[in-house]
């Protein structure tokens, strides 16, 4: 096995993992160096190499994911960017969907457009929906816009013309003119960045790409350079939001594809664990300090969506962010983390988040100035955390401060003591995550019965067994190394690229030749990106989004291999009807079916690990001590065994109530939960004895 390094740059920490020849890992966490994120990586890489006793020249692959692009969008720290659009559509990114994302707020503030109106230019040109020219490209007017852009010294230009996803000719012509006038200008065109129908989403996506492009390109090339200087001459690859690897050059040209790469790593980590344990239907649950992320993984492959929102301004609410239409691993994210603050609203209801105490000042128990009660404070009050062995270094938790904050922030308003109020906080945050998981399942047409949950991230193992009960699941896996899950996930990602394009046709007059041509082009495009990184055998997955005529929501339908013939409409109808039934429980006959957008994902073939045999309980683990913890099923305190995870042999079993502690998190077992250590150190938790 080659020596490889994965590096995940997050908002607070940079996680690094080095995988050795024998498949074992060394890992480290360093603080993210915001001024130049490569500095943190370089420091961490040297630490890892030293610890593992390898020289950087032996490293064969370096895989990187970063929130840098996301943060630049959230904090609006991008390049001075102009947006050039078709005459008549200057304000598309400002008027958005013409709606309010919050119905009951007179003082709602809509997100400001990424590019201000004064920086938005228009050109006379127009295509129709079939890509035919209605108004020819105005060369003279375009040259005048080029001159203004050069004179105003923009660093980047985004170009988005109406219907360019069908015919890119005008966008390409305009890029030529821009580069002729100023060859070093960063130019992004929407027909390349995101050739999907719907101008609001596409224009935003190309604007976001242009906006972060200079920053990201310079960062990536700097990192590559610095790694070489340290002797790491191996290729550098980036993980993209869809969960695959791309080259530095592709990432620098399409940096918007790097948004959400960290969470993608987490989903791949879970998918890999699912494969290792032979779990075909998995609910991945990742909880950190600020948010919880939940994804559905079937047959070891996370689902991807074609559009998502970044930089939500209001309580993670749909519609309050910036739509980005690129392939992304589908997940739901809610404001529920260890640092999420609990409060009581005007109805006397306990509310959790979305505000987080973060790491500064942190939960009240940190005694660093935080006075608001958080989820962590409630966990401490309920005995689920040990004040002296909390995950974060140099922090001793204060139960007194936690109790005081819980009473002041929640208890007083509801006439509850610290214990009852803490129960309320814990139950509400667990209910919120449970509801999010259920809604996400419904959104994807899935029933969670029979799913296995995989929990990772610092907070998830504390809450996972309660979620498992509330969702009615019977199996939970808590992998080792969960604290650096995303970075490990990076090392499990295939080389992969998903090319997406809108192409409208329907079953009344199915354009099979057009569909064949387009799928061939998409496959060629995706393969080209993948071939930049690997010579391995490739798999091709093709998908089309379809709906009944008259509907506004499409569902994804997987296509087999081969080309369409004149009778394709019939077979497509059959496939769609089956998929629709699975999604919504019933199909409707005799209606025309529309195909809206198409995607081809090309990926390097990965050898699936042989599923590990399930290890049954062999010998009970010996607890260090016991501690009373609150058990919601029992409805009161029970004596929990405290067990140290490090050093537990394969087959060791722990019957709840118990807490299994490790350096970065703790796994809580209720009275009816039973854990057994598996071959790879994963805890497999099932329901045993008294059940919910």
């Amino acid at each position: 096995m080659p020596i490889r390094i994965g590096a995940d740059v997050g908002g607070t920490f940079t996680d690094l993992v080095l995988e050795q020849n024998d498949g074992s890992f060394v890992s480290t966490k360093v603080l993210t160096t915001h001024a130049g994120p490569e500095q943190g990586i370089l420091a961490g890489v040297q630490m890892l190499a030293e610890e593992a006793g390898v020289s950087l020249s032996q490293v064969e692959q370096f895989i990187h994911g970063t929130t840098l692009a996301t943060n630049a969008l959230i904090e609006r720290r991008g390049a001075r960017t102009a947006l050039v659009t078709t005459d008549g559509f200057r304000d598309v990114i400002e008027t958005r969907t013409e709606s309010r994302f919050e119905q009951y707020d007179l003082n709602i503030v809509l997100p400001t457009p990424l590019i201000e109106r004064k920086d938005r230019y228009v050109i006379s040109e127009r295509l129709n929906a079939r890509g035919e020219v209605l108004v020819p490209f105005d060369e003279v007017g375009a040259q005048a816009v080029v001159d203004r852009i050069v004179a105003a010294e923009y660093e980047a230009v985004a170009v988005g013309f109406i219907h360019s996803y069908v015919n890119p000719v005008h966008e390409r012509r305009f890029r030529e003119m821009l580069l002729a006038a100023q060859p070093d200008l960063s130019v992004s065109i929407s027909s390349e960045v995101s050739p999907q129908m719907r101008e609001f989403e596409r224009f935003n996506t190309v604007a976001a790409n242009a906006y972060v492009q200079p920053l990201m390109a310079s960062y990536l090339f700097r990192l590559e350079e610095e790694l070489k200087r340290l002797g790491a001459t191996c290729p550098l690859y980036l993980i993209h939001s869809g969960g695959g690897l791309i080259s530095v050059e592709t990432a620098a040209a399409f940096p918007v594809r790097l948004v959400e790469s960290g969470p993608a790593g987490g989903a791949i980590f879970a998918a890999d664990l699912a494969a290792k344990h032979g779990k075909e239907r998995v609910l991945s649950y990742d909880m950190g300090g600020t948010t919880a992320k939940i994804a559905i993984i079937e047959k070891y492959t996370p689902e991807t969506a074609k559009t998502f929102e970044v930089a939500r301004t209001t309580r993670f609410k749909k519609g309050s962010g910036m739509p980005i239409s690129i392939p992304v691993i589908e997940m739901i994210e809610i404001g529920a983390g260890g640092g999420s603050i609990a409060s009581v609203d005007s109805l006397g209801q306990i509310r959790i988040g979305p505000h987080s105490a973060g790491s500064e000042p942190g939960p009240a128990a940190y005694d660093r100035g935080g006075l608001d009660p958080t989820v962590t404070d409630a966990n401490l009050q309920l005995g689920r955390l040990d004040p002296s062995t909390f995950g974060a270094k140099d922090i001793t938790l204060s139960p007194e401060s936690a109790a005081t904050a819980i009473v002041a922030g929640v208890g007083d308003a509801l006439e509850m003591d610290a214990e009852t109020a803490a129960i309320g906080i814990a139950e509400v945050v667990d209910e919120n995550m449970t509801n999010a998981a259920r809604v996400h399942a419904v959104e994807n047409g899935k029933d969670l019965a029979g799913f296995t949950m995989i929990a990772f991230g610092g907070g998830a193992p504390l809450h996972a067994t309660r979620l498992m009960d509330k969702l009615g699941l019977d199996e939970l896996l808590v992998p080792p190394g969960a604290g650096v899950g995303s970075a490990i996930g990076f090392l499990r990602a295939p080389f992969a690229y998903e090319a997406v394009r809108s192409f409208y046709t329907n079953t009344d007059a199915f354009d099979h030749e057009g569909a064949n041509r387009m799928l061939t082009e998409l496959e060629a495009e995706a393969s080209q990106f993948v071939r930049e990184g690997t010579d391995a055998k490739l798999t091709v997955e093709r998908q089309v989004s379809m709906r009944y005529k008259g509907q506004g929501w499409e569902i994804p339908v997987r296509l087999g291999g081969g080309t369409f013939d004149a009778f394709a409409a019939d077979s497509l109808s059959t496939v769609f009807t089956k998929a629709y039934e699975e999604f919504f429980g019933r199909a409707i006959t005799d209606l025309t079916i529309e195909a809206v957008s198409w995607s081809v994902r090309v990926a390097s073939v990965q050898t699936k690990p042989d599923a590990l045999a399930t290890v049954e309980a062999a010998s009970p683990a010996t607890p260090l001590t016991t501690r009373p913890i609150y058990d919601p099923i029992v409805g009161g305190r029970v004596d929990a065994a405290i067990v140290e995870r490090d050093g537990l042999p394969v087959g060791a079993s722990i019957q709840g109530p118990a807490i299994i502690i490790e350096s970065q998190t703790s796994t809580v077992l209720g009275s009816h939960h039973h854990a057994v250590v598996q071959h790879d150190g994963t805890l497999r938790i099932t329901i045993e004895g008294a059940s919910a």
């Binding site: 005459d87 008549g88 559509f89 200057r90 304000d91 598309v92 400002e94 008027t95 969907t97 013409e98 709606s99 309010r100 119905q103 009951y104 007179l106 709602i108 809509l110 201000e116 109106r117 004064k118 127009r126 129709n128 929906a129 209605l134 109406i162 219907h163 129908m197 719907r198 609001f200 609203d345 005007s346 109805l347 209801q349 306990i350 509850m416 009852t420 129960i423 309320g424 139950e427 509400v428 209910e431 919120n432 509801n435 259920r438 809604v439 419904v442 959104e443 409208y504 009944y548 008259g550 509907q551 506004g552 929501w553 919504f584 429980g585 019933r586 409707i588 006959t589 209606l591 409805g635």
Partner: protein, 535 residues
Amino acid sequence: MSREVDLQIMWNRVISILEEQAMTLVRTAFSTSVREAGDLSAGVFDRDGRMVAQAVTGTPGHVNTMAAAVGHFINDIGPERICAGDVYITNDPWKGTGHLHDITVATPVFQNDVHIGFFASTAHVVDVGGRGYGPDAREVYEEGIRIPIMKWVDRGRLNDDLVTIIKMNVRESDQVVGDIHGLAASNETGRRRLVEMLTEFDMDDIDELAEFVFERTGRATMAALESVPKGVYRNTMTVDGYNSPVTLAVELTVTDEGMHADFTGTSAISPFGVNVPITYAQAYFTYGMLVALAPELPNNFASLAPFTVSAPTGVILNAQHPDPVSVRHVMGHFVTDLCLGAIAEAIPQTVPAEGAGALWNFQASARSANPGDELPPIELLMFNSGGTGARPELDGLTATAFPSGVRTMSAEATEQVGPIIIWRKEIRENSGGAGRQRGGMGQVIEISPTDGYLFEFSAMFDRIDNAARGRAGGEDGASGKVYLDDGTPFSGMGKQTVPADRRLILELPGGGGFGDPAERDPEQIENDKTQGYVS
């Protein structure tokens, strides 16, 4: 565990169940207004028909109407005929949500063989027969099929006769019947989830939960109402109406018990289908008051109960059978600004200036321009919004719907399905009313038929003769304009034709300004110029 915590968890749970129901309906619905406007709702009720919780959707119009509907179901079906396995249906404008296009389906819930409550859901369907969607009918009989409250499913058996009757009386019958099945299925999902929850918490019924919800909400609602000084507040507002101006009038009485709106003084019933059943006016009144006073409160029996209405019969806000009511939303949407205007005297730091109010929907039938060409007719629908009124501390919202929750559709997507070219959809400069806070700007839209088609359409554009008024010294927003690109003026109301070679130009109204324009922050004035919002 504390009962308090249990009840809070259960309250969260039922709201989540309803959100799931609403989401599934949005995704499967065939009607454009359901998927783009969230023109649907879902609620859970106790056995007496009191609404315990409702999904938050894009349609304030369903707020009270839906809450009242289940009471009518209990009454008309008869409590003794309510059985497990039943599903009820109606689209009666006066017992449902105000026009025939909304179909409401209710499903009783049983736990241990005892009737404990209902799930109900409503969605706007594609067609109900009659003249098709539009204001041109003179009686509700012309507007389509009217389904009285009856059993869609009787103890598990589908009422095939009713299905056949509906199929024979509507266009696109597969889609309509498909949507009704969808409503019934979503109630069934809700019912199952509720029963699971009751089993989990070891409960026989939802009475304890309902009391908890009503007690909490009732207390919070009354607390919110205390911020309004007791008294009587009045307002009138004149809008364009269908073919003659309509004056809307309200007298709001605030007492210790709640708020009452009386619409005496409002113009008489219109001969066209813009009349409003009073439950629908009540919905937009209640929405306006809740959004201003208690935005955090959920909709349920207790939050809605303090808001009551009355009006003489024969006014446009109290339509009676058989008055036509198909497009009751146009006048209905103005009720929010009307009532906010009245209460502004009491809470001047909360209430915005008037906005464009009613949507400028472009609903057209594309027909072959040459009678010789046999092009199939195609129906087109676009939702478009003008500007909202300036807020006391913030500018108004540009090209954004209020009080409706409608979204616009992508121009590219619209052009993919119909013979239309949308040449322009852009901010209308200088249209926001000046003020310390500027009104939201309207937009300019240019559209033309293409591919050998022309458009026939029923215009329903208001605020052409009557601009949105400013507040507290703010100026009025710009009024709307409708014309062809050759200068031919168009009426804002009634059936008209856009020829094949012409563009229709719509200039949508802006919102009113708030406060003296002289007090506007110089930086904001400068920015308005830099961005080209004001020239």
